[in-house]
Symmetry: C2
Subunit: 179 residues, 2 copies
């Protein structure tokens, strides 16, 4: 297997909340879930077909306006089983952290290398921006702190924020070590 195909579970998970069209699923990766996962429509549509063939989904056709038909997908009992099995399965600790920037640092071993400082500073700009964005998301979506319903969403946003916090701190520490 090239990858673990987690997309199927994301689709099932999203459809478990409410039936959606392929287009709406695609959009979900631009907002909420886009904070920590990505997928294009060219991957989503074929996956929806596969899941339907496997009996995990069904769809109903809706017509908007004159002729434009869209397919609204809903999860089946089979699909719900698949989802729950995945949720129940142990999760590898991965933190697979394929971090390109860390990789670059690894290949600049000398603390006096002139490239080091500008690189770290550029990265600091990027991650500070990301951190600010995430903090704004958290404050906007959960102004009252941890909710009872939607806790998962809250937790992953919280996590993303503290991950960026750690990243910024790390970059700052790194800067103190180079000329």
């Amino acid at each position: 297997m090239a990858q673990r195909n987690l997309l199927q579970f994301i689709i099932l998970g999203l459809l478990h909340q409410t039936p959606l069209t392929g287009y709406e699923l695609t959009k979900a990766f631009d907002s909420d879930i886009g904070e920590f996962w990505s997928a294009q429509h060219s991957q989503i549509y074929p996956q929806l077909q596969k899941l339907e063939t496997a009996g995990s989904l069904t769809h109903t056709e809706e017509v908007t306006g004159e002729k434009l038909a869209r397919k609204r997908y809903a999860i089946t009992d089979t699909g719900l089983d698949t989802l729950n099995n995945w949720l129940a399965a142990p999760t590898p600790a991965s933190t697979n952290g394929k971090d390109e920037f860390a990789l670059k640092l690894y290949f600049i071993p000398d603390a006096n290398d002139a490239r080091l400082r500008p690189m770290l500073e550029a990265q600091q700009v990027e991650h500070t921006a990301k951190r600010t964005h995430l903090e704004h998301q958290l404050a906007t979506k959960f102004p009252d702190g941890a909710p009872t319903v939607g806790l998962g969403h809250y937790l992953i946003l919280q996590h993303a924020v503290s991950r960026e916090h750690e990243y910024c701190d790390w970059l700052a520490t790194a800067l103190t070590h180079c000329r």
Copy 2:
């Protein structure tokens, strides 16, 4: 492009330090660099061939014992250019963080869900182990703190440690929110 093919740069970076065989490169992903990247020999050998065709590498044959020949690869000036261009290029902030566990939490929105606590606890075991392992690595490889030569390696280990630290803290916080 399916991925960014960073493997080529890792190979160039490792060979920039010292010439290595395919086998030795493979082993590098079990130790040092394995902490934050993975690759199998089935990917490495073809990549070495590609890089040699592209003029980034050359190899010399060495014979061990009676007949076993191995190929020791060295980086060329072309290869060094490729490496330096990559190092000089801006790095996307990604933190692509495709975290399977976070994904699962997202799909268990209810704080009272009975699955939540055991999941978090299991994950805590995993990540605590990983954190301990990384701290041990750091203490073993850099007993005197940040070095002048090998700073990159130190920094990424440091980063891995604090990332795991953050992860464990986050899991602990998450546990306080569920029944």
